[in-house]
Amino acid sequence: MDLYEHQGKELLRGFGIETLPGVVAATPEEAKRAADTFGGTVAIKAQVLTGGRGKAGGIKVVKSPDEAEDAARQVLGMDIRGHTVRKLLVEAGAAIASEMYLSITVDREAKKPLILFSTEGGVDIEEVAATKPESIVRMHLDPLVGLLPYQTRQITFAAGLEGDAAKGVGRTLTNLYKGFEGLDASLVEINPLVLTEEGQVLALDAKVTVDNSSLYRHQDIAELRDVEAADPQEERAQEVGLQYVKLDGDVGILGNGAGLVMSTLDVVAQAGGDPANFCDVGGGADAEKISTALDIVTSNEKVKSVFFNIFGGITRGDEVARGLLSAIERTNIELPIVVRLDGTNAEEGRSILAENTPPNVKTEETMLGAAQRAVELAREGGR
C-alpha cells in the first residue's frame, strides 16, 4: 500500500524524522490560509500516488498567500500520470544547502533490508545509479541484528559527510530504520533529504510503501487508504477477495491463479488482442465469486469479449463447469464469453458446458485456441 507524501511524513515524524511544517489543503482557499500561517515562501505540492509530479508541474514554489491560492487552483484537478490531484500539501520554505537521497528497501536477493544513500539527491535515483554509480552507498542489514552504529558511520563516511551533515544523516537513518521496521514498510524513501543552511537535516519528500500482508497489524495505516482515488471496480474486487487490475484493452480476462492469468494476458496480446484487465478468481468453483468477477470484468465499458481461462487442478473440471454455469445464470451478460477448461476432469467439464450453456458462451480446448477466439470476437464488436 502506497502512502501519500503527507501521510508518509506524518508517520515518519512519529519515528523522529524531521520535516518542514506542512498543512494538507483540498481547496485554493485552504492553501491560501496555510500559506498565510507559514508566511514567506511556501511550496504547493500535489498529493498523488505516483512519481514525476515535479516535471508534470505538480509542485509550485510561491511567495505570497495570493500566489499560493493561484497555484493551488492550477494544481488541484490536474492529471498526473492518470492520477487526479485532489489534495495538496502546503509546506513552509527552507534555505537548502544540499540535496541528498536516502532509502531503505527490501532486497529480494539478499533477503535483507538494503540502505541506499547518495549525496546526489533530488533527482531520479535510477539516473544517478546509471550515470554516477560510485555516488551511491549501499548497505545490507541483518534484520535480526538491526542497524548498528558502525553501519551508520560507514555510510556517512563513505559518502564523505562531516560535522552536522554526518550527524544529521546518521540520526535520520537510525530513525528511518525504526520507521521501516515499525511500519512494516517495503520501501521508505526520502528524496530529497536536505541539509539546510542552518545545518538541519530534513525530509523534503517521503515515499512510504507499507507491506499489504502486514496491514492486519496496522489498522491505523489500513484506514489511510484513499478509497476515492482507487478505481471503483478494483475497490469492489478487493472487498470480495478478488485480484483485479484494470488495463486499457477490450478483451476481459478471468482465470484461476496469478501466474496463469498473467500468462493468459500475454497469450491474448500475442494473438493480436488487447487485454482489458487482470482478474484472478483464485482456487475453487465458488459460483458467487465467479459471478462477481464476471460482473466486475464486464462492467468495464470497453470490454467486447471475455476469456475465462480455467485450469482444473485440485478443483475438478466438472465442478468448475457447474460453478461457472451457475455464475453465468446469475448475471445477464450478453457479451461473448470464451471458456477454456483444462486439467483434471476437463473433458467432463467441457461436456457439461456444451450441453447447458447459453449461446454467447463458447468453449475451447486449448489456451492458445481460446485466446485466438476471444480476440476475434472482440474484433467483431461484442455489444
Binding site: 535510477e126 500482508s213 496463469l260 498473467m262 500468462s263 494476458l265 500475454d266 487485454p275 485450469f311
Partner: protein, 289 residues
C-alpha cells in the same frame, strides 16, 4: 532419485486440523506420502485420518522421526511455525501459507542456511515427486513420473505446463513451487543446483514472472555452472508498471523486473525461452531428443 522430497520423506503437517491443512493432508495421504505427524497446539493426543497429532514439533519429531514439514497455519503465525520447524531440526520446510508479512520473512529467511535446512515458500504450492512423495497442494493426477524437473514462482501456471508435458508423454522428476512472494526461502538457483546434481533429471523447466531479478541470476548461474538443459517461460509481458499482478512479488518496479528484461537475459545466456505454455512442452521434447 528426485529432489527435496522422495520415498524417504517423513512428513509433518503444521496446522493439520485446520481447514486447509486437513483438506490437503487427505490428498497427500491419498498420494501415498508418508504423513507421519501433525501439529496443532492443544490437540496433542488426537488423531487425524490416522495420523497422530502433537502439541509441539518437538514432541512430534521425538515420537515420529519426521524430517520434513509443510505449513498451513494462518499468515500471522507462519514465521513462528517456520522457526519452530527449523529449531527442531527439520531438513526441509515448506510454507504454503499466503500473505506472510515481508518483515517476518526477512527475519526467518536467512535462518535455514545456518541450520543446513531448506525453506520452500511461503505462498507456494509445494513440492511433488510423482509416485514418490507429494508435499504440496498440487493436483497429483496431472503428473507422471519422469525426468524433467520443474521449478516455478507460480501455482496454476505450473499445473498448466506440467499438464502440457504429461499430455505429450513427458514425465517429471520433481516439481517445486518456490513461491510468489518478494522474500522466499529458496530461489531458482538453489533448485537448479539440486536438479543439476540429480542424475535422474535430464531437463529443467523454469517458470518465472515479473518482479525482482531472480530469473536473470538463474540465467547467469545456468550459463556458468550447469549442463542440464533448461527451458524457460516468463509470464507478465503485458503487466503495467506499479501494479501488483496477484502475487505479492509480481510487480514491475524497475527496468530489471520486466518480463522483457528477463526474457532477454535468458536468451543472452543461451536458455531456450518459450512464448507460451504449449511451446514449453515442445521445447522440452526437443531438448530431450
Amino acid at each position: 532419485m528426485a529432489i527435496l522430497v522422495d520415498e524417504n520423506t517423513r512428513l509433518l503437517v503444521q496446522g493439520i486440523t485446520g481447514r486447509e491443512g486437513g483438506f490437503h493432508t487427505r490428498r497427500m495421504l491419498a498420494s501415498k506420502t508418508q504423513v507421519v505427524a501433525g501439529v496443532t497446539p492443544g490437540k496433542g493426543g488426537q488423531e487425524f485420518e490416522g495420523v497422530p497429532v502433537f502439541n509441539t514439533i518437538h514432541d512430534a519429531v521425538e515420537e515420529t522421526g519426521a524430517n520434513t514439514s509443510v505449513i498451513f497455519v494462518p499468515a500471522p503465525f507462519a514465521a513462528d511455525a517456520i522457526f519452530e520447524s527449523l529449531d527442531n531440526g527439520l531438513e526441509t520446510v515448506c510454507c504454503i501459507t499466503e500473505g506472510v508479512p515481508v518483515h517476518d520473512m526477512m527475519r526467518v529467511a536467512n535462518y535455514p542456511r545456518l541450520q543446513n535446512a531448506t525453506l520452500i515458500g511461503p505462498n507456494c504450492p509445494g513440492m511433488l515427486s510423482p509416485g514418490k512423495s507429494n508435499v504440496s497442494i498440487m493436483p497429483q493426477d496431472i503428473f507422471k513420473p519422469g525426468r524433467v524437473g520443474v521449478v516455478s514462482r507460480s501455482g496454476t501456471l505450473t499445473y498448466q505446463i506440467v499438464n502440457e508435458l504429461t499430455q505429450r508423454g513427458i514425465g517429471q522428476s520433481t516439481a517445486v513451487g518456490i513461491g510468489g512472494d518478494p522474500i522466499i526461502g529458496t530461489d531458482f538457483i538453489e533448485i537448479l543446483k539440486k536438479f543439476e546434481d540429480d542424475p535422474e533429471t535430464e531437463c529443467v523447466v523454469m517458470i518465472g514472472e515479473i518482479g525482482g531479478n531472480a530469473e536473470q541470476r538463474a540465467a547467469e548461474y545456468w550459463q556458468s555452472e550447469m549442463e542440464t538443459p533448461v527451458v524457460a517461460y516468463i509470464a507478465g509481458f503485458t503487466a503495467p508498471e506499479g501494479k501488483t499482478m496477484g502475487h505479492a512479488g509480481a510487480i514491475v518496479s524497475g527496468g530489471e523486473s520486466t518480463a522483457e528484461a528477463k526474457s532477454q537475459a535468458l536468451q543472452k545466456a543461451g536458455i531456450r525461452a518459450a512464448t507460451n505454455p504449449t511451446e514449453v512442452a515442445e521445447l522440452v521434447a526437443e531438448a530431450l531428443k
